[in-house]
């Protein structure tokens, strides 16, 4: 048992344990800023798209699916790109290679997780839905970020990338789910705390007032991006 856990965490923490002393690492402030802006901007856009989705859903129109897909792609894509750019901001003096399949899988996980989570908030949000949505959202964030992290660190690992990375991916996913549960919980709470007024701001004809809610959207994007 101990061997398995060791094996699982061997590669994951190998950098801190061994390479940390050896590698010189740097953060590119421009890319860090861009990563942050992407997160805020993606969440801000998602809020708008979610508002449309909810409105269409409440009106019983099939058009809500397009808004839902758009919101999922924006949020999922945002999660993925935020992590991807953040990774690129982190530089170590080694050659880095990105695996196409893993990269796309990372994007896919983020989008699917976001999609399922967003599906939970189309109608009235109940607590079980919140939990269930939080799990998927967390999975999406963790998977999107984790899979992106699970790259082939050429020069650090000489084994097969997949064999070495699978345990790390699983750990990322689990951490993501746990973190996501918390994160999404917090995110959804934030959404309603911040958007509660925005939802109230809707006219009886379900019109979203962008002016009054714009700053809150940005704040919410900031909040969510921090959770991410």
């Amino acid at each position: 048992m101990g061997t398995l856990i060791d094996q699982l965490f061997q590669g994951y923490f190998s950098l801190e344990r061994s390479g940390g002393q050896l590698l010189e690492s740097r953060y590119d402030p421009l890319l860090v800023t861009l990563s942050y802006l992407i997160a805020v901007f993606a969440v801000y856009t998602t809020i708008g798209l979610v508002a449309h989705m909810r409105r269409e859903f409440e009106a019983g129109r099939q058009k809500n699916r397009y808004w839902w897909a758009g919101a999922a792609l924006t949020l999922g894509g945002g999660i993925f790109v935020m992590h991807f750019v953040a990774m690129l901001a982190f530089s170590i003096q080694v050659e880095v290679r990105y695996d196409l399949g893993m990269t796309l899988l990372s994007l896919l996980v983020a989008v699917v997780g976001s999609a399922v989570a967003l599906m939970q908030i189309r109608g009235r949000l109940s607590f079980p839905r919140l939990i269930w949505g939080g799990v998927w959202m967390g999975g999406g964030v963790g998977g999107g970020g984790g899979c992106g992290d699970a790259l082939c660190w050429n020069g650090l690992s000489t084994g097969t990338g997949v064999a070495t990375l699978c345990p790390r991916t699983v750990v990322d996913l689990c951490a993501g789910c746990g973190g996501g549960l918390y994160g999404h919980h917090g995110a959804v709470l934030l959404f309603f705390l911040n958007q509660g007024e925005d939802l109230i701001c809707r006219t009886p004809k379900h019109r979203v007032s962008w002016r009054c809610s714009g700053s809150r959207h940005a704040l919410y994007g900031d909040g969510v991006s921090r959770v991410l």
Partner: protein, 633 residues
Amino acid sequence: MGMASAEFYSGGSCGVSTELFGVSLEQGELGIEVSVIALLVIAVGLMTSVFNDRLNSLLQKKNDELAQQVARRTAQLSSTKEQIELILESIGEGVVVVGLDGKIQQANPVLEKMSGRGQDQLIGASLSTLFVETTEGDDLTSLLYQLSLPLKVLLEKERVLFEQFCEESPVALLLMTEQGVIESSNPAMKALTGWSAETITGGTLEPLLPEAMREHHRQLVEGFMKDPSPRKMGNRRLLPVVTADGEEKQLEIGLLPLPCEKQLLVLVVLNDLEDVRSWEMFKTSTLGRLTLETDDRVQLQYQLLQPEEEKLPVEITLGMLGQHQHGLSPTGAVLVLRDMSEQIKQRHQDQYAAFQASITEMSSTVLHNIGNVLTGMSGSVVSINQVVSDLELIIKGVGVMQKGVQNGTIDLDRVDQTLSALLEMVGKLCDGDSNDERPRGLRQQSQRLDAGLQHASEIITEFRQAATSEVRATRFNLHSFVIETLGLIEDRFERYHVELNMEVPEWIEMNIPRNLSMQMLLNLVKNSLEAVQQRREGEEALAGRVTVSAGAVDEGLVELVVTDNGCGISKEKQQEVLNYGYTTKETGSGIGLHSIVKFAKSVRGEVAIESAGENCGATVRIILPVEAQESHS
């Protein structure tokens, strides 16, 4: 636990390359590129969301405005509807709204009262069930149908009806093709220009135009065909037309394009501006309405069926709902029913009063004439009395002579001489003096008395006949009839110093209601006398003249003409004076000429008035059949 050393760097390159999908890129550049692409994609999503929201907001705003407008309009319509319902209920005449199928859609309480039916019986019922059945042409439902059809549809779908309308039109009509070829023309065209349908059909209008006009007309036709919009009547658009007799007439022309399925047809309306009567008739005809698209209401006389088979005379004013000129097809019609029973009663009373007045007037004339006869007779009576006195003297003389003979105081020779003288005297008293121009003997006086009595008897008989409303056709000689009739008012000519001329042939025999004819002629001559008197108010020295003439105009038709040199009638009033209640005289009732028209029509005759204008005299022409075809009371 040792931590990896990390610090922020700037400048993008730290000398480490990254391989993405086999392409080696500098790590910082890759991050910027991915970020930019991601931001662009998210921006597209954001824009979509924002624009959609703006669009929805705009749409919502417009919807709200529209909803407000609809609400406002609905409120207006609702208010208008309430007003109309109130008007319908408070109006004093029967109002009924019908669909084009002739079914009643709405009726007001007055109509319920007039027809004796409730709303439940009226709504949905056929309009024709309300009225006494009439001939097919007068059927209200078919009239509604005809009025609802645009002329183009009438021409295409109801060609027979269209042609029937054209045949009956009092105004000349031509149907022409796009190429200017005359497809058909109506009888009124022949009456107006003398050109029959057979002569002009298939040709162009050019032979009917003056030579100088033809080229210009060709250009006008080309211009019309380039822009075939209606050329309406009433703009005094004149076309000179040469009649079959070679006379040139200026006719007003109107053009109505009728785009049919196969080709463009043009309905040409030609109107003689002087013939106001025909134009008025055309305007009120169904074809006239469809051609001119007038707003005029149709007025009809019908009898409304009431409970227990009673009939109420009503005048219907019919107006279509949704007129052609507003680009709408009619959806139905509104009929306003006016109870005419009181008016008809009043009219009868007026006519009776006029009749009474005429009788009174005639009575005074008759009494005057009888007075004249009696004056003549009284002279004879005086003469007879004188003869009687003479005879008494003779008797006395004979008595004295008889006593003298008996006493032997008178010899026989003297008696013989005296008797001879007496016999001669008695003879003169009886037969009059043959040397006198007017022998005044008992016999002549007796004959005069007899003649006077006969004359008086004749006058009384004529008066009695004229005073009765006997309307049976009787056979009479027109010449004698005119003399007798004029004899009744002979004294007026003397009194007013008006010359009377009579040109009536002796051979005309008539068989029409004599008494009504007599009243008609009396009315006409009386009017002429009054017209002369009226003109004299301005021209005291006027030598008044009235001429009564007659002659045969056609087989079985006689024209009776009364001409005077009185005050005349202006052109505008020439038609109106024939209407009931219209008069130009201060004391007139407007019944005289109307009753003449009524009588003439009752025997299928016609009345026409001609006058060159005020103070130019007037001529009344009455065409009467020799044999009355029917008579009406």
